[in-house]
Symmetry: C2
Subunit: 147 residues, 2 copies
């Protein structure tokens, strides 16, 4: 995979460095990792890696279009490598786990709001909130009824 990442970094005009390869490798293994998780996991490959370096790497990757930043409300930012496809996220209110989902109707039904109010919309970000199978079982007796 390092070969692939090397190519992709070069194609994006970015230098190939150990911190970047380490972060990319972690993102490949953890599809929705937050910065702290990335730091911890990436240190397996690069023990002296600092949190700030990871922030720098992530920002470079996002700017280059190699990674995408997702910020669920009330949670630290997550990073993922799947870019370019219009997929969305399913977030568990209890454990915070994030799962990718394709848009409900196949193409992009939500990309056109009923009234754009003069806006030029370039992205529709959809977050489905709920409870995953595991947490639903755990909290079956005290499920909050919302909305």
């Amino acid at each position: 995979m390092d070969t692939t990442w090397t190519t992709r970094l070069r194609d994006s005009g970015l230098r190939v460095t150990r911190p970047r390869l380490a972060v990319l490798d972690v993102l490949g293994a953890h599809p929705h990792a937050d910065a702290d998780t990335i730091v911890t996991a990436a240190r397996a490959a690069h023990p002296t890696l600092s949190p700030q370096s990871v922030y720098g790497v992530l920002q470079a990757l996002v700017t280059a279009g190699l990674a995408r930043r997702v910020e669920p409300a009330g949670a630290p930012a997550l990073f993922e490598l799947r870019v370019g496809d219009n997929h969305h996220h399913l977030v568990c209110r209890a454990c915070g786990v994030v799962v990718d989902v394709d848009c409900a109707v196949g193409y992009t039904p939500c990309l056109t709001p009923s009234d754009a109010s003069g806006f030029v919309v370039d992205e529709a970000e959809v977050v489905f909130w709920g409870f995953c199978a595991d947490c639903r079982a755990d909290t079956a007796e005290s499920a909050p009824a919302q909305g």
Copy 2:
């Protein structure tokens, strides 16, 4: 309006206090205000109001279902009074202005992801990102092409 708020607070089991009425009044005038804006504006009616008090009031309102908290990525949390209807938001990447939009198809087309992966979904949060009419005019020559 105070009369209405008084009734709604009582109906929700909350005591009627000046800070709460002040915050509700501000939310009525600013449909998508952040905490800082609320503090500043509410001080017109209650000069000694502290930021922490506003946070407390907002949390109480959200818990009681009188207000809703919205957290666009990269921006401080916003609060709005429109609750219960399944409306979404249009956010300008340049100036940050937020506009309400009804869901594209009238009812809730996005509430059912194609594959829920065992999740029980209770809310679909949709954020449309783009540029508002004013900012589109301002940045017409350097519009970023994304996605």
